[in-house]
Symmetry: C2
Subunit: 199 residues, 2 copies
């Protein structure tokens, strides 16, 4: 763009590649960054680069980790027989925010999606099956997303694990707490009715 | 936050320091960045850090520059006697986007603001006066923002330069093109009336 020198242009174009950051926002950010003291920009750039380099995946569950094992797997108290299966590491973070689940995780790093060519061999299903053999597993909680791929993946995994004698459960579908019935879609409402419990 | 390892936490907290980036957005960006290939993250971090390091200010006009002189000052065709005075380099970029101004700039790096302790000695006014002495200047266009500080700064500079025999002009105030009269504030409308021209 006219009037913008190359270093700023490059900053803008790199920032604009991030999700949800448009050209205008990227420009605003670039001008802000250019006005920051050198050490603050260094801290930002280092946090991104060093942070990205430091990220590994837990060898057991596939969660983000800075070492061989993630914090959850390293905590022996958490090997209580439960494994919660999720699509990706950010789902682990969401679950942990709840502070209500005390078992282990298994991160699939994707969900089955024949349309996109993602088959059972492309996600960490065989690693999950291997864990059933080596760990004391009493329950596998299938917590993939409540969408078509997530449902298909949960069903697929349950079909493999149940013959192995493992109890498989699926997280409940229903109306979100704090939401308004009026705005709930029909499928959610029908799931909520189906899953009703006696008080 | 629970479930988030240190490198991601640091990424989130650094990103959240940027203007307009809240905790949620920072988290979304961090997870995106963590999932990117190493080389893409390197390109981003390098653009920020190298870009920030490369930024200098033009020795003549104070605009962003990668060398001693900015692109505008280096272009001999642009020394047409006009100097457009703006508050900061991003205003130069805005002016250049217009592609309609062919003179030079002078970036003040601030505006007079007694309340914030910014006096004439704190912004690049004496550098502007020095330019009047050494360059062929026929017109100084005061294009500081149409707010209290911008107006005060324009008036202050005009009062110094006019006795030196320099023609000083102020950009027009009025209703923005494409806007709706109904939503224009009274001051803008009265300025628009005051500055009306015969058709």
């Amino acid at each position: 763009m006219a009037g913008q020198i190359e270093p700023i242009q490059r900053m803008v174009s790199e920032l604009a590649r991030l999700p949800g950051i448009g050209q205008k926002t990227a420009q605003r950010l670039a001008y802000h960054i250019v006005g920051l003291p050198l050490e603050e920009v260094h801290a930002l750039a280092a946090a991104l680069w060093q942070g990205r380099k430091a990220i590994r995946y837990c060898e057991r569950c596939g969660n983000f980790s800075s070492g061989e094992m993630c914090d959850v797997c390293a905590d022996e108290q958490r090997a209580n027989g439960q494994i919660c299966v999720v699509r990706d590491p950010r789902d682990v973070a969401a679950m942990e925010r709840m502070q209500d689940y005390h078992g282990l995780y298994h991160v699939l790093h994707g969900t089955l999606s024949p349309m996109d060519g993602v088959g059972p061999g492309d996600i960490r299903i065989k690693e999950l099956i291997a864990r059933i053999g080596t760990e004391e597993v009493t329950e596998v909680i299938l917590a993939t997303n409540p969408d078509i791929e997530g449902e298909a993946t949960a069903t697929y995994i349950a079909r493999i694990l149940k013959p192995m004698g493992v109890k498989c459960t699926r997280i409940a579908h229903g109306v979100p707490v704090g939401s308004d019935l009026e705005y709930a879609d029909e499928v959610t409402l029908s799931k909520a009715m189906e899953g009703r419990r006696e008080l």
